[in-house]
Amino acid sequence: MAELTAVQDLNKGLVRENPLFVLVLGTCPALALTTTVVNALGMGLAVTFVLAMSNVAISLLRKVIPSEVRIPAYIVVIASFVTMVDMLMEAYFLSLYQALGVFIPLIVVNCIILGRAEAFAAKNGLWRSLLDGLGMGLGYMLALGSMALIREVLGNGTLLSGTPLEMVVFGEGFKANPVLVMVLPPGAFLTFGLLMVGANRLRRS
C-alpha cells in the first residue's frame, strides 16, 4: 500500500475507507443503536475512544507481544478499555448507558477494532496509529449518525430526542403518526441498504 500522509491516515476513515459503508464492519451496533441520533453519536464516541486508545496501546506494545499469542493479547487490551468505557458511562451517562445496553461490552468484538489493531497498529508507530484510530472512529460515528438521522426523523418525527435540544421536525401530527417501521428492525436494514447505494456511488466516482 502506498505511503499515506498523516492527514490521509486521519481522513481515509471518513469516506474512502469508511468502516461501515465501505469495509462493512461493525454492522451490529449500526443496526441496533441508530434509532435515535443521541444513541448513535454516543456509541460512535465510545467506539472512537476505544479504537484510538487500543491502537495506541497496541502500537506501543507491538514489539513486546509474541506473534503466536497476539490475537488473545489484543483482545485483552481492547477488553480492558471497553470495561473502562462501560464503567465511565454507567457512572456519568446513565440514561445513555441503559439505552446502549449490551452493545457497550460488545464493542470488544467489534470487527473494526480488532481489524485495525491487526492491520495497522501492529505495524505502525504511535502517532500514525492514533490518527488511524481517530479517523476510523470518526468515520464510524459519521456513518452511524447519518443512519440515525434518517431513522429518527422518519420513524419518530423528532431530532435529538432525549436531550434538551429536542426538535419536532415535521410537526406534532407527524410525530403522533410517524413511519414506525423505520425505528423497527426492518427499517434498520432498509436504511442501511439504501445508504449503501450512496456509498457505492461515492466509491465508484
Binding site: 462493512v24 464492519l25 454492522t27 451490529c28 451496533p29 443496526l31 441496533a32 490475537i71 488473545p72 483482545i75 485483552v76 477488553a79 480492558s80 471497553v82 470495561t83 462501560d86 464503567m87 445496553g101 449490551v102 461490552p105 460488545l106 470488544v108 468484538v109 467489534n110 470487527c111 480488532l114 417501521v181 423497527l184 428492525p185 426492518p186 427499517g187 434498520a188 436494514f189 432498509l190 442501511f192 441498504g193 439504501l194 449503501m196 447505494v197 457505492n200 456511488r201
Partner: protein, 198 residues
C-alpha cells in the same frame, strides 16, 4: 427468574422467534451477511455456532456465578468472558480435529470466525443480564443459537435464488439489495413480536 414448565417452552420460542438474535437483536450480522451466500456453508456455520454458544453460555454462567460475583468482580465479566470464549473455541477446534476429521473438514474454517462473533459474547452477557438460572441459561443459549442458524439458512436460501448480478438494477447490486431482502425477512419475523414476553 421463576418459570413454570410452560414458561420454559415459552423461553425457547421467545429466543428462537420473538427475540431472534439476527432479525430482532442484531447480533451476528457480520456472519449473516458474509456466510449466507450458500446453503451448505450456512448450515456448517449454523451448527458450529449452536455448539459454541451452548457450551460457552454454560461455562460463562458457571464462571460468573461461582467466581466473579462472589468475589465482587462482576466488572471483569467482559474480559473474562471473551478470554474464555477464545480459549474454548481454540479447544473445540483441537478436539474436533482429533476426534472427527470429517467434521473438521466441514466446520473447521468457521470456528475461528466465531470467536469475534457478537452473538457468542452477546448470549453470555444477556443470560447474566436477564438473571437466568443455570438451566434457563443453557436453554437460552441453545435456543438463541438455533434461531441464529435458522435465519442464516433461510436467508441463504433466499440469497441463492435472488439474482444480485444481472436482473438487479446496477445501483442496487450486491450489498444493498441483500440488505433490503434482509429487511423484508425481518418484517416477516416482526409478526412474532409480542407473542411471548420475557
Amino acid at each position: 427468574m421463576e418459570l413454570s414448565v410452560a414458561g420454559y417452552f415459552q423461553l425457547i420460542f421467545w429466543a428462537v422467534f420473538v427475540n431472534n438474535f439476527i432479525l430482532a437483536q442484531f447480533l451476528g450480522i457480520c456472519p449473516f451477511l458474509g456466510v449466507s451466500k450458500k446453503i451448505e456453508s450456512s448450515m456448517g456455520m449454523g451448527i458450529a455456532v449452536v455448539f459454541v454458544i451452548t457450551v460457552s453460555s454454560v461455562i460463562t454462567w458457571l464462571l460468573y456465578h461461582l467466581l466473579l460475583a462472589p468475589l465482587g468482580l462482576s466488572f471483569l465479566k467482559t474480559i473474562v468472558f471473551i478470554l474464555v470464549i477464545a480459549a474454548l473455541v481454540q479447544f473445540v477446534e483441537m478436539v474436533i480435529k482429533k476426534l472427527s476429521p470429517g467434521l473438521f473438514q466441514a466446520l473447521g474454517i468457521y470456528l475461528p470466525l466465531i470467536t469475534t462473533n457478537c452473538a457468542v459474547l452477546g448470549a453470555a452477557l444477556l443470560a447474566i443480564q436477564k438473571d437466568f438460572n443455570f438451566l434457563q441459561s443453557l436453554l437460552y443459549g441453545f435456543a438463541a443459537s438455533v434461531g441464529f442458524a435458522l435465519v442464516l439458512v433461510v436467508f441463504a436460501g433466499i440469497r441463492q435464488r435472488m439474482d444480485t448480478t444481472t436482473e438487479t438494477p446496477a445501483f442496487l447490486r450486491g450489498m444493498p439489495v441483500t440488505l433490503v431482502a434482509a429487511g423484508i425477512l425481518s418484517l416477516a419475523f416482526l409478526g412474532f413480536a409480542g407473542m411471548v414476553k420475557m
